[in-house]
């Protein structure tokens, strides 16, 4: 397998192509793994401690080999960069059509450095690559940007697909995301701010070339089996109709939501606690990322009668809210009307901003107001005008979103990097310590789900390489109490037992390697989760990967590849100075017991350190510092990485 990396230096305007050879895929699989290698390499010759908004930062885009190759498992593009809001390793996935179309240009990896003197967009049309003035796009949201570029660039030699930033990215808001085709957002870690700081408004692609598959017969055989297996699971049909919204009732039942800044774990307000609303709103189109056999999304139109607030949004077209859109609106902000939740989803996608950190920045202040820790005067100072900070008040919430997106007042400026930095800055400004009300995990990243009863999820929030995140070490075994999977992975049922710390850190360690593979294959995670045959992605997708790339790694080698990829991400963070003490979570999760849901009285502190120890042990890292050892890195053929870490004094002794 070979691919092309397009290097763009926006300062000089230099554009050049580099071949990524087969040996790179042998080492880094593809997608996420290759992105990490490109970024690691970049920071060997650039200052890794640079300001992420400086021209020295790199923005990498990559798409893995299974994306759009007929696997039917969706397409996920991956962006990788140093995070401007968390100041550490940052990456984010996004589907849509852009990652599919870019493969037909022949460029599957982009490395963008420098800063353009004024706003530009990058146009990749097969092998013709050019930079263009984007002043007419600047100030437009992602939906309009996409529509304008499609109109401007037309449908020859193919339809135009785009990756763009909205106003949040333009204003370098730290939690700004990047949107693919106005359909899907790479929300996490602030990739939008990186592009905004580079004056790169959008990337538009048109491709009429081909993707080569190494062994097509073998791939087609795999795809047939894959589709039949998924089709055989009745639960897939429920997922097609609801998407991740299916989690609402389950989480309501067990107490796994994140209500009012995490004070509770169940939604309030009857309508919002069930997914029945999918029947009431008018669905007019399915929506799907390319090459996806499932199609979990749909477009709806508000007629005005569907809910109390629907009359405010008549004629608005929105996509079905997925779980975290709901978790951030109905959960963190206690919005109780589905039309308003949908509107929130539209706002955050159009402006191009992460809904997790955005909602938790707002809910932090709402809680301070609720507890009367700040006065009306304090609020007026912060906003420049009065603000109700009322839970669930969508009109006011929309103003707060605009404040952050447009950086229009002190609030916007303080909280543009998320609730952790916002709370630190606000505490300093007020001369008080409000940190116990800030909700975050590693790096200061937020996540709108209840954590305290779930030790694996808690561990994920503390150790994920890109900051608190549920996906890197996805704790399915534990939250769904899959003792069958625990048995398969570890030979016993402990990993599925919520009441003990055993095998929770181990779970994170193993699953992180598997998820690294999924992210490197370029596939969506839901097929894997829904298919009974799917729980070991190294074997599940192994044949597809080998058939497409000709990289003949068996399951064991693939797991080692996944582990290598995770270790490179860790090494990046170690170079920046991150140690065990940074693998941490907020006070509420650590110390404040749950008081509702099926698992009351839980705090993370009971098991946190034990689970963290176990995670490092399973990773083969030093338990005291959290750092990697040379022997572990050598085992993974990462001697060169060990050398760099050693010279940075970021290597633990063996």
């Amino acid at each position: 397998m070979e691919s092309n990396l397009l290097r763009v230096n926006l300062t000089t305007g230099e554009i050049k192509n580099e071949i990524i050879g087969h040996e790179v895929f042998e080492r880094w699989v593809g997608g996420s793994g290759v992105n990490n290698w490109i970024m690691w390499d970049h920071f060997l010759t650039h200052d890794i401690n640079c300001d992420p908004r400086s021209p020295d930062n790199i923005f990498v885009f990559g798409v893995g080999p299974l994306a759009g190759s007929g696997a039917g498992s969706g397409v996920k593009g991956r962006i990788t960069f140093k995070s401007p809001c968390y100041d550490m390793f940052g990456d984010s996935a996004g589907g849509g059509k852009f990652p599919y179309m870019i493969r037909f240009t022949g460029y599957e990896y982009l490395a963008i450095t420098g800063r353009a003197p004024k706003p530009v967009y990058l146009h990749i049309c097969n092998d013709e690559v050019s930079l263009h003035d984007a002043s007419h796009l600047w100030g437009k949201d992602t939906k309009d940007t996409h529509a304008m570029l499609q109109k401007e660039l037309g449908e020859y030699p193919s339809k135009t697909h785009t990756l763009s930033i909205g106003q949040a990215g333009e204003n370098q808001v730290g939690i700004a995301g990047v949107v693919s085709d106005a359909l899907r957002i790479h929300a996490r870690c602030g990739g939008g701010a990186v592009l905004g700081s580079k004056n790169l408004k959008a990337i538009a692609v048109q491709g009429s070339g081909s993707i080569k598959v190494s062994r097509p017969e073998s791939l087609m055989k795999w795809s047939d089996k894959f589709r039949q297996s998924l089709d055989a699971n009745e639960a897939v049909y429920g997922f097609k109709r609801r998407g991740t919204l299916g989690a609402v009732e389950m989480y309501q039942h067990i107490g796994s939501h994140f209500w009012r800044n995490g004070q509770g774990n169940m939604f309030r307000g009857g309508e919002i606690t069930s997914d029945n609303w999918v029947k009431r709103f008018h669905r007019y189109s399915e929506v799907c990322s390319s090459d996806c056999f499932i199609a979990c999304d749909a477009k709806y139109k508000i007629d005005g009668e569907e809910s109390k607030a629907a009359k405010n949004y008549i004629g608005e077209s929105f996509r079905r809210p997925e779980y975290l859109t709901t978790g951030s609106a109905a959960g963190a902000l206690d919005v109780r009307d589905w039309a308003e939740v949908a509107h929130w989803g539209k706002l955050t996608n159009d402006y191009g901003i992460d809904n997790q950190d955005l909602s938790c920045s707002i809910s932090f202040l709402m809680e301070l107001k609720q507890r009367e820790l700040i006065s009306d005067d304090d609020v007026a100072n912060l906003f420049g005008h009065s603000q109700s900070l009322e839970w669930g008040n969508m009109n006011d919430i929309e103003r707060l979103v605009e404040d952050i997106v447009f950086q229009s007042n002190t609030f916007g400026k303080l909280f543009g990097d998320g609730p952790y930095k916002g709370a630190l800055r606000y505490s300093e400004m007020m001369g008080q310590n409000f940190m116990k009300y800030a909700m975050y995990g590693k790096g200061g990243a937020s996540f709108t789900e209840e954590m305290r009863p779930f030790p694996t999820w808690m561990n994920n929030m503390a150790v994920a390489s890109r900051g608190a995140d549920h996906l890197k070490g996805l704790g399915l075994i534990e939250k769904f109490q899959r003792r069958d999977l625990s048995q398969a992975y570890f030979g016993g049922s402990e990993a599925a037992d919520l009441s003990i710390p055993d095998y929770k850190g181990a779970s994170t360690a193993i699953i992180e390697n598997q998820v690294a593979l999924l992210n490197s294959y370029g596939v969506c995670m839901f097929h894997w989760m829904l298919d009974p045959a799917g729980y070991m992605p190294e074997s599940y997708y192994g044949d597809a990967y080998r058939s497409i790339t000709g990289v003949e790694h068996d399951s064991e080698q693939l797991m080692r590849d996944g582990e290598r990829i995770c270790n490179l991400e860790k090494a990046f963070n170690s170079r920046i100075g991150m140690r065990r003490e940074h693998d941490t979570i907020c006070e509420r999760w650590m110390w404040e017991p749950t008081d509702e849901g099926m698992y009351p009285g839980k705090v993370a502190a009971d098991m946190f350190e034990t689970v963290l120890d176990e995670y490092y042990q399973w990773r083969g890292w030093d338990v005291k510092s959290g750092l990697q050892t040379r022997s572990k890195l050598e085992e993974l053929d990462l001697n060169d990485v060990a050398d760099v870490l050693e010279s940075d004094r970021a290597l633990a002794r063996d």
Binding site: G70, S214, K240, Y284, S289, Y300
Partner: protein, 217 residues
């Protein structure tokens, strides 16, 4: 997987002389309009199965996904999603073959689908406007692309995701895909079935009310 028409049987020989009575295609493709999710898997699969070099390229596909033509209804003002543009395998000889000046169309012995033989095709492109459904496509290389039913096991149908909307009571479809490979009469039967387990106002209802379920042929 034997999905290519038997090329050795169609190259170099005309199965039917001009003026011969050619039997029509029996089982053909149908698409439930407006169920399509634009997943592109059919395009990917079609291009791959026809490629001698293991190439995937939607521009080499003989089925194409497009936006459904906008047709305001009382329920929906924006048109209804996406549609799979499929070859309708018109009565033989189909219009595309009739306008061909060089006799580059042959008939697959199994399916009786009209197949373009690239060795004889002079790429004049008369078949493109000649097709009443605009489903003869031109590849970037200039090659003319027409659906050949994959020799009787159409890969697009296999690739098509089944949708949860309709349960076909009694026949072979537990869940309905967008693309079907059926006899006309069977498809008529399928498409007349009421949707089950859906009381949702929206696409299905609009589709039924507007009479949009059709084979298009």
């Amino acid at each position: 997987m034997d999905t290519q028409p038997q090329k050795e049987l169609v190259t170099g020989e005309t199965w039917y002389q001009p003026g011969d009575k050619i039997p029509n295609v029996g089982m053909k493709l149908f698409a439930l309009r407006n169920q399509c999710t634009e997943c592109n898997v059919c395009e990917v699969a079609c291009s791959l199965v026809h490629s001698p070099d293991g190439e995937i390229n939607p521009q080499l596909s003989r089925v194409r996904i497009d936006h459904a033509p906008e047709k305001p209804t009382k329920i929906n003002q924006e048109g209804l999603g996406f549609v799979a543009e499929i070859c309708h395998h018109c009565g033989n000889p189909p219009p595309c073959a009739e306008v061909c000046p060089t006799d580059a169309f042959y008939y697959d012995p199994k399916t009786l689908a009209a197949v373009i033989d690239q060795d004889n095709c002079i790429q004049c492109m008369e078949c493109v406007p000649g097709c009443p459904f605009d489903v003869v496509f031109v590849a970037p290389s200039g090659e003319l692309l027409k659906c050949d039913l994959c020799g009787g096991d159409p890969v697009c149908v296999k690739a098509c995701s089944t949708r949860p909307e309709m349960l076909n009571k009694g026949k072979q479809y537990n869940r309905m895909p967008v693309l079907f490979y059926e006899e006309q009469s069977d498809f008529n039967q399928i498409s007349r079935e009421e949707p089950v387990a859906r009381d949702e106002v929206g696409m299905m209802q609009a589709m039924l009310e507007a009479g949009k379920i059709s084979s298009g042929a």
